[in-house]
């Protein structure tokens, strides 16, 4: 059932392709050692975030964990800014200061990229709290993995959201593993969705490999939340084709299991549906795929030729400046000075001359 807010399906298929091709390139660049740190790929899970974005308005709040490339791309952050962030460049979506796990894009209401498992779930309740406080009808989408549901912060956040009736949808991307630990080995319940029962909110299981199921399931909840704020919990059953991170060969699971999910590939599935319904030709699909590949390729070129952040960016964001009205001092952290080193003389000068004049952080 199509809702007025829902986004065009062909367009969302193009987004899924962009995510897939972008991450394939990222993987290649990681292996070429152009990308540092940890890098977690979303390949296989694309229907979850694209389905969710298709069901929401651009001004709804979105926040997620560290497997976040797709969430930014789906929201409209450019492939260039995403790749440049992986390269640690000044043109990245977090100016090269966040990295793979900490994508942020205020303009597109993408509130991160959070790498402490479960720690962003309370933040989502705060964003939803703010929306309700200001009487806005925005919904907050909070994505997290199956590994997050055993963290204290997760439970506290769900309780607060239930208690205060906050407009937030908790979206558990259940890919059945937290690193090498299967849900069976981590969680006291048979079904993750049953966690929601403790917090008195509507909940359900959605096939996270199906774009349409995700979109329609969420559309339904969102319509209800916009009318009267309340939280909801959704377990998306999905699968990551790759290892947990780039260094993980994923030997804890079987080839057969992976193949089973690959047969349900979200891109193949939506393509087949659209083709069957006469909404997409093979030529159109090929053209879209080529466009996605080109965008991924040129994002690498963009990242390569982008500048490194200047060294003094290091001190630029420790504190936010204060406006006129604020009396607070020390708005911008400054470099520790080289001064005062090697005072070799024991002679008492006592002029006070080597007292740092501005001295806040001499």
């Amino acid at each position: 059932m199509s809702q007025p807010e829902q986004r065009d399906e062909v367009e969302m298929l193009a987004t899924m392709l962009l995510i897939r091709r972008f991450e394939e390139r990222a993987s290649q660049q990681y292996q070429a050692q152009k990308i540092g740190g940890f890098c977690h790929l979303y390949i296989g899970q694309e229907a979850v975030v694209t389905g969710a974005v298709a069901a929401t308005r651009p001004d709804d709040y979105l926040i997620t964990a560290y497997r976040d490339h797709a969430h930014a791309l789906a929201r409209g952050t450019s492939a260039d800014a995403c790749m440049a962030e992986l390269f640690g460049k000044a043109t990245g979506c977090s100016k090269g200061l966040g990295g793979s796990m900490h994508y942020f894009d205020k303009e597109h209401h993408m509130y991160g990229g959070h790498a402490i498992v479960g720690a962003h779930v309370p933040l989502a309740t705060g964003m939803a709290f703010a929306a309700k406080y200001r009487k806005e009808d925005r919904v907050t989408l909070c994505f997290f993995g199956d590994g997050a549901i055993n963290q204290g912060g997760f439970h506290e956040a769900l309780n607060l959201a239930g208690l205060f009736k906050l407009p937030v949808i908790f979206i558990c991307e259940n890919n059945f593993f937290a690193m090498g630990t299967s849900v069976k080995r981590s969680t006291s319940l048979e079904q993750i969705v049953d966690r929601a029962r403790g917090y008195d909110m509507p909940s359900g299981i959605i096939d996270g490999m199906s774009f349409r199921d995700v979109r329609d399931g969420l559309s339904h909840l969102i319509a209800s939340i916009r009318k009267e704020p309340h939280p909801a919990f959704v377990e998306m059953r999905t699968y990551r084709y790759r290892g947990h991170s780039m260094s993980d060969p994923a030997s804890y699971r079987t080839k057969e299991e992976l193949e089973k999910f690959r047969l349900e590939d979200p891109i193949t599935r939506l393509r087949a549906q659209l083709t069957r319904e006469g909404k997409l030709t093979n030529e159109q699909f090929d053209k879209m795929d080529k466009k996605a590949k080109d965008a991924a390729m040129s994002s690498v070129k963009f990242a390569e030729k982008s500048p490194e952040p200047p060294l003094d960016e290091l001190y630029g964001y420790t504190y936010a400046p204060n406006g006129e009205e604020s009396p607070a001092a020390g708005t911008r952290a400054t470099k520790p000075s080289e001064k005062g080193r090697g005072s070799s003389t024991r002679e008492k000068k006592r002029t006070g001359a080597n007292i740092s004049p501005n001295g806040k952080q001499a």
């Binding site: 100016k95 090269g96 200061l97 966040g98 900490h102 942020f104 894009d105 509130y111 991160g112 959070h114 402490i116 720690a119 962003h120 309370p122 933040l123 989502a124 309740t125 705060g126 964003m127 709290f129 703010a130 929306a131 406080y133 204290g152 912060g153 506290e156 956040a157 309780n159 607060l160 208690l163 964001y317 420790t318 504190y319 936010a320 400046p321 204060n322 604020s326 009396p327 607070a328 001092a329 020390g330 001064k339 005062g340 080193r341 005072s343 003389t345 024991r346 002679e347 008492k348 006592r350 006070g352 080597n354 007292i355 740092s356 004049p357 501005n358 001295g359 806040k360 952080q361 001499a362």
Partner: protein, 325 residues
């Protein structure tokens, strides 16, 4: 000017800021219907209603995080911890989320939030309830920390904290809520900048640097020392981060002797940093080794006499001064 309590001063600061800015709200355990565990928020629920004054369950990690998320999208929350000993349950939110967001997002998201509540040992509360947390939090770039010791500073610093665009910890003194002091009349918008120390007493022989609970004991020590013709200069730091280095250096350049009186424990402490900076920046001004008076480095005992032995005191400060004067 009129005389009010530290508690009343904080209450006025809260009321004024909540009235001034619709984005400001107060949240915490027992802040609304109970009027505050220490009655700091007395009357605020009646005046501002339950959308601005919000009771939470006992869920520090959850509501600290909620505040940070709300601040990311433009609200200016004041989050009360019943005491900062309980903020440790929310340590990850205070240390990992609030102060890192601005840098991690390349400058896109600042977090204008105030965390406030009583801090430091009170009286015979034992090891779990007696934490001074300033050393722990001072280690974190991106946080600001102030430690008001008087009603006037409590009001002015809290109001400045709420208006600051960064996460600020206002570490109140649990034992001072009933202390009285002179504060500007209510029609004055009293703002005390973060990072400005106050010269409490001029002197020429030694500088006693103090903050929070050590302010009254440093002043008492100075009074005793005066009887023996030792003139101590007393500086209340008021803010731990940013710290008013010029005020410290100026005084040391005058007295050439320093005693640092700390509320917290000694290891990697506030005094370690101050002593290091003094010797690094104005080594030649020193005529004697810097002395420190702090808590003993042990979990806080319940027994009253043992607790007193752990805590800094006027007598300990006097003894430290006499070692170098």
């Amino acid at each position: 000017m009129r005389e009010i309590t530290y508690r009343q001063a904080l209450n006025e600061a809260l009321a004024e800021e909540i009235a001034r800015d619709p984005n400001v709200f107060l949240m915490g355990e027992e802040v609304a219907e109970y009027n505050g565990a220490y009655k700091v928020s007395q009357g605020l629920l009646d005046r501002f209603g339950p959308t601005r004054i919000i009771d939470t369950p006992i869920s520090e990690n959850g509501f600290a995080g909620l505040g940070i998320g709300a601040a990311m999208v433009g609200l200016r929350p004041i989050v009360e911890f019943m005491t900062f000993s309980f903020s440790l349950v929310a340590f990850d939110q205070i240390v990992n989320n609030a102060p890192n967001m601005l840098t991690m997002s390349g400058g896109q998201f600042n977090v204008p939030i105030t965390f406030r509540g009583p801090n430091g040992p009170a009286h015979q509360l034992g090891a779990t309830h007696s934490h001074a947390t300033e050393c722990l939090y001072a280690n974190v770039p991106g946080l600001k920390i102030c430690t008001p010791a008087t009603p006037r500073d409590a009001k002015g610093l809290l109001k400045a904290a709420v208006r600051d665009n960064n996460p600020v910890l206002v570490l109140e003194c649990e034992l001072f809520y009933s202390h009285k002091g002179m504060v500007e009349d209510e029609d004055v918008d009293l703002l005390i900048p973060l990072g400005e120390a106050e010269l409490k007493q001029e002197g020429s022989d030694v500088t006693i640097i103090c903050y929070a609970q050590t302010v009254p004991i440093a002043l008492a020590a100075a009074e005793n020392l005066a009887k023996e013709n030792i003139n101590a200069e007393v500086i209340d730091l008021r803010s731990i981060k940013p710290l008013d280095w010029p005020a410290v250096f100026k005084s040391v350049a005058k007295t050439h002797r320093v005693v640092i009186a700390e509320q917290d424990r000694p290891w990697c402490g506030i005094g370690s940093e101050i002593a290091y900076r003094i010797q690094q920046e104005i080594f030649d001004e020193l005529d004697a080794p810097i002395q420190r008076v702090s808590q003993e480095d042990v979990p806080m005992p319940y027994n009253e006499a043992l607790e007193q032995a752990v805590l800094p005191s006027a007598a300990k400060i006097v003894a430290a001064v006499k070692k170098i004067c």
